[in-house]
Symmetry: C3
């Protein structure tokens, strides 16, 4: 009785003609059914590992994961840039044109947008499910290959979960890469998630999770890293490149840390707090804001103007310290024109603390702006008095000498 499965050697009971190349979803669901049929004792359900060797697999049927302790593992995240390819013109002379590794083509032909759905009712929460080192390829964004829209999601955790991992995975050309609802102690590490509408969306609620050591870059339509209702999230050591509408977006999240990341964006709102986000730390990050240099994507942006802030704070008692901001936008491209762009905007909330951030800019900027709905902000060593603007709120300010 094995607990180590290989999709290429599994025979689907009653369907001997089925192959993982034709529909790996069917194969994996069949393997999960086998695991469940073998592991029927409440006291002993150790799960299994399902191995996906390098290869090209279609996924036509959604995989339904409803057991704990399942590892789905490949050999190779297999990313290659489809954006470059689709915008390259004639690629007939190319060595290869598609992603590779343990590559799953998400075809969404069963009417479900999700390639993998993790879901179970009852107790306990699903625990320690692992997705590791394979490739989820959305194949195409349809008639407009720069739209980032195709209704496909790579992996969706759809019920509360604990101690799960998504590590070393590659995703490309999915409208949504990884969506995780109501998570506890999640690890999202070492992945390559790029050219997806959104890359990581932590929805509903969550606590004590980490998003670390990833290479990430979403599309202009979505999020590179999104967290809603989270407490104690650690976002550290990521290299987040364009062109997500933000680098990190928190919605009603609290007591979390965004530290030691490198962020690069083509729009304002790189770290964006929505709703009320409180007591978060944004420290030791490198921010770079430039203009979109790639002709096919120049028509697009996230709709925000330069007064929105590279960091947009909404909520009380956040700490923003020790960050570097590089703002490199030609004067003629600043929007609204002739107004100094804002590096850190405190849009609302009390007692935020903004200290020892350094800004380098191609045009005169406001390093910190306090909107009228703020109070008690402290701003220390973040630029000159001319670079600071406070709209009527009580606040403290110490100019950089």
């Amino acid at each position: 009785m094995t607990t180590v499965y290989d999709v290429t050697t599994w025979t689907v009971p009653g369907n001997p003609g089925a192959t993982p190349y034709a529909d790996i979803g069917l194969t994996i669901n069949s393997i999960i059914a086998d695991v469940k049929s073998q592991q029927t004792s409440q006291a002993s359900k150790p799960g299994a590992v399902i191995y996906i060797p390098p290869g090209d697999y279609s996924l036509k049927t959604r995989v339904n994961v409803d057991i704990s302790f399942l590892t789905i593992r490949g050999s190779g995240h297999g990313f290659t840039s489809l954006s470059i390819r689709y915008n390259a013109g004639n690629t007939s002379g190319w060595h290869e044109v598609n992603p590779g590794g343990s590559r799953i083509r998400v075809e969404k032909t069963d009417g479900n947008g999700d390639a993998f759905r993790v879901f179970r009712t009852g107790d306990p929460r699903l625990s320690s499910i692992i997705f590791e080192n394979f490739c989820l390829d959305g194949v195409s964004f349809g008639s407009n290959q720069n739209s980032y829209l195709n209704g496909k999601t790579g992996i969706r955790f759809d019920s509360a979960n604990d101690a799960c991992r998504v590590e070393g995975v590659g995703m490309v050309y999915l409208e949504h890469g990884l969506v995780v609802k109501d998570t506890d102690a999640l690890s999202v590490s070492g992945n390559f998630l790029a050219e997806c509408g959104s890359c990581i969306e932590l929805t509903g609620s969550g606590q004590a999770s980490k998003v670390t050591d990833n290479l990430i870059g979403a599309g202009f339509v979505g999020f590179s890293i999104f967290a809603e209702g989270h407490m104690g999230l650690l976002v550290t050591g990521n290299n987040v490149f364009p062109r997500g509408r933000s680098s990190v977006h928190f919605k009603n999240s609290t007591r979390s840390a965004i530290t030691a990341n490198r962020f690069h964006a083509f729009y304002p709102g790189m770290v964006n707090f929505e709703g009320s986000c409180t007591e978060n730390l944004v420290a030791s990050n490198h921010f770079l804001r430039q203009m979109e240099p790639f002709d096919p994507l120049k028509p697009y942006n996230n709709g925000l103007d330069d007064l929105f802030g590279l960091v947009h704070v909404a909520g009380n008692s956040n700490t923003v310290t020790g960050n570097h901001f590089s703002y490199d936008v030609p004067a003629g491209s600043v929007n609204p024109p002739s107004q100094p762009p804002t590096m850190v905007l405190v849009a609302s909330g009390n007692n935020n603390f903004i200290a020892t951030n350094n800004t380098v800019a191609s045009v005169p900027v406001r390093t910190v702006v306090l909107d009228a709905a703020t109070a008690g902000t402290k701003v220390l060593d973040c630029g000159t008095s001319a670079e600071f603007q406070a709209h009527g709120s009580p606040h403290s300010f110490r100019a950089t000498p």
Copy 2:
């Protein structure tokens, strides 16, 4: 002559009835003996990999690792919360009740508390031993499932070692998770170590090691991360949740870094320096201190009061900068009552540097307190004059404007 072993296919010589399900310790020791019998040339002892497929294994006999270059590897850290289960009442309707993955039940029936012991005399030190991606389950804390006491240790390195790794491992319900003595260039990364009395204890001495990218939470009796006599330890990118008696505890350790972590605790003494700890950096961490919310564990704490400091500095020339402190304790729960809790206590030592830390608190606090045994401390931009207290020592202080 293979160097790739699978515990489920190995036959113990002279004991054909032995199985890893009955005693994986016996199996692994037999495999190690085989490796040693095959690799007898001093010039060529490359070691081996011992694979533990997902499954439920008992460990009755301690594993003795006395060869370099051995990898013991599973598929799945397999954590599930035993604390929730044991405190949940009737779990008869649950899907599953035990941890899983490549799960080893530590039964400690041979009189040894350690499941794995790494030990060798002579030269050179044991090198490059790897524990990876399996589960060590202590099963039970006995009559009081909230005691964190059962005399069981997951992995103990008991002689000097170099370049070893513990990565991706899960541990639960062990009194001691990982104990490593006299280590050099150790990597403890990507693990899930929770609901153990202590999680990581680096004892004796050590240098140039790292504890990175882990999810960790010890019990109130012990340590989440402990380091004794260490030099050049890097603790970064960890999410350390309750309820260890500390988040990071240094004893006579020096020139080490605690950076970019997220710490959450229910007691004072989150970063705790014991003895003389010098020239360490504590930077860009997020600290959250709350009260224990879980009824079964409300009776317990670490015995420290709120004057001890969330960060407790003892020793010279440490740097504490760029941290965020959230202190969220109802006024009636502060201990001693009616005294302002301390965020950073410099208990002893000269020339410590405390700068640009921000505090958010539910009650009036002292952000920095200097005890009488200190001298030459510099405190910059860590709060108001009213939040600062110095007991007679020469010091520098600049209030946050």
Copy 3:
């Protein structure tokens, strides 16, 4: 048609006597040829995984990787210190004397210095090649085992590449460990690279890459981490020990981050900016500078004197903040004698920002020195006026109170 290869079971077509023990290069090249012969459709070239079990393999023939999506993977980075062994005298009583794990002895007998070369012309760039968890052993530095010179390179990426990974690899006694040219979104993580002349050299150009979570220590002749012409490189979470001539060396690199690392060195120039390096962030790092304590290596150094700076800044608009410097050199060893050593030297460039760095030193030091070729530097809270020196440039200075 498999995509999972094992070097120990592969038969080289036309050369049945060939074994990976005699020449793993020949074996791997033969496997790559097989992959190419099987994967001929432009639309489907998913690559393969080549597994190297623990063992001792010679590499006599250079491996030529010219396909995307190839994983070369072992079980065990296998580091052991050859420096200790070669300087230990009689080791006849030792348990073992060589590195292990999946150990490849780089013998360089085909006239090529590189063990692995990744190279392809045409489009697209090679993508998602992975080197993982094996050992590259240069065996010897010849007549002077402390020379760090033998003309051997472990892995060289020699044409533009994207989304590649080098993870969990061990390297020892190579003149050059990893050399990567013109890289995009590279991940170098979790490796053990030590006792090599240089460890990581990112040459030519590069962007959006990361060097994270490694244990690294080069020789006095070379670089621990070198990056040339890079933009958006993230160097975080590394423990870099001696004795490289620098810990991190940037040449004409920009908008990159060096954060939350631990650096230990025996010479000045620990973070060294060459040419023009602009808009970089150096934050939350721990620096320790001592004298070489190991007799056999005391004759050697990197040729720089103590006025060069532990951090040497050349270029505009860099940020150096929140770092700890420990300088522990006896007064009699300072060079030039009787002059205060420099912690941060701004050698050239405008508008650099140096703030809230703390220094602990065994002798009186200059914490920050501004050379004459600088302008507009801001220095805040980095020491006393006596510890600061500015050679005629306009600048701002605020002494630590």
